[in-house]
Symmetry: C2
Subunit: 241 residues, 2 copies
């Protein structure tokens, strides 16, 4: 195994976590104190990233980063873009940071995103913190843009792939599912029409269980069956074309 690192290429990971308020992003605090601990020269946030490891695939490198933060084995990594503009890291702050860390100037990065329910991640490291996608803090490098691109890609994929279920707990209610769609796509959906559509899908299977939320009528729970999905979409394809 060759654990050397490519010093001019990195991998970045946008980590999405969904909760009942919408999408969140997991960010790492980037802080640099030069003179006085109370007045850091740099104090902003960045997405998780790291150098490419020579003997691993890009995806494996990304998974390592993901695991080091979340403790979880990744299974739903999506590569969405590679950034290579040589002047993309050119702010004073970013250059200062790079020098202070003894890093080479990594202008190229392959960007991935991960999707899971926010609650499934237990943060061990207090440098990391969740932020609602709608109210992100001051971001370093060009990470604002990267997060945006990731969100756009997610919006598209969600219309066409079952990625939404990676963001949901295993058992979920239809209203939770609707909320997930609404907050990711930034639209509002009609509850009755939504239910009709969803209940038509064989791969969304009802359980004989209810979720007793706060103190209201309990709601029925469902699970997503990937087996059924794979079979159904195949046959759909055959019939349609």
């Amino acid at each position: 195994m060759d654990f050397r690192k490519r010093d001019n290429v990195s991998v970045d990971c946008v980590i999405f976590g969904l909760d009942s308020y919408g999408l969140n992003i997991l960010l790492r605090n980037r802080k640099l104190n030069m003179f006085n601990d109370d007045f850091p020269v740099i104090d902003d946030w960045v997405i998780a990233g790291g150098p490419v490891i020579i003997s691993k695939t890009l995806g494996e490198t990304a998974d390592l980063i993901f695991k080091s933060i979340t403790g979880l084995n990744a299974f739903n990594r999506i590569q969405f873009h590679t950034y290579g503009n040589p002047s993309r890291l050119k702010s004073e702050k970013d250059l200062l940071w790079i020098r202070s860390q003894g890093l080479k100037r990594q202008t190229m990065t392959i960007a991935y995103y991960y999707t899971q329910p926010k609650e499934s991640i237990v943060l061990k490291n207090s440098d990391f913190k969740w932020f609602p996608l709608k109210s992100l803090p001051d971001l370093g490098f060009d990470h604002k843009r990267i997060i945006n691109d990731a969100h756009e890609d997610l919006k598209q994929k969600i219309m066409v792939d079952p990625v939404i279920f990676d963001l949901m707990p295993v058992k979920f209610t239809l209203n939770e599912l609707q909320l997930a769609f609404e907050s990711i796509l930034e639209v509002e959906l009609d509850n009755r029409n939504f239910r009709k559509k969803v209940l038509n899908k064989a791969y969304i299977v009802p359980l004989n269980q209810t979720k007793k939320g706060s103190a209201k009528k309990p709601s029925k729970l469902y699970v997503f069956s990937r087996d059924v999905y794979d079979k159904v979409t195949e046959t759909d394809y055959i019939i349609n074309i």
Copy 2:
């Protein structure tokens, strides 16, 4: 300007050209003669590629490659994937080739594709040749897979973006447009329904000109107006399968 090259990262360009028979790919002959010119050790085909130039963006690097082959200024480059599996170039042949060229082993490549009418490209260099996507020759490296991925991406984009018009001549007939969709998506479409749909689109504007093809009824010509498209479109797809 820093014209040095990154010796471990390259850019590859899948060049699509559409003609009336379908999609074609522009490939470069890779030939290596060790002992006897009549019996090359390597004789297969690869897509265009080259090292990343440090002072340029990835896209600019790709455009340079594109221009060096076609003489055209690129305007429709699409980045679709980055490959970084360290063992993706591991066949005897590929390793031999890399040594023979004095190259470093470039395991990472950012892949782009370009789309234009096949006839708009005049080949100056006889190392390059068009091949129908449906009958590709023996391909080097993992370029078979890269071409496949590019095609899949193109299929998706075509449903949602006006990329199809990059593949068409400026003036085109509706039947040509239909053929383009059919051959890219690998489906058949009903001619009457297709016309109805297309004629509803404000951004496909009829000309008072006809195309006198071989020797039959002349057909009406249309152009695509990007201005109108940009204004009209939010979610107005041409095709829904």
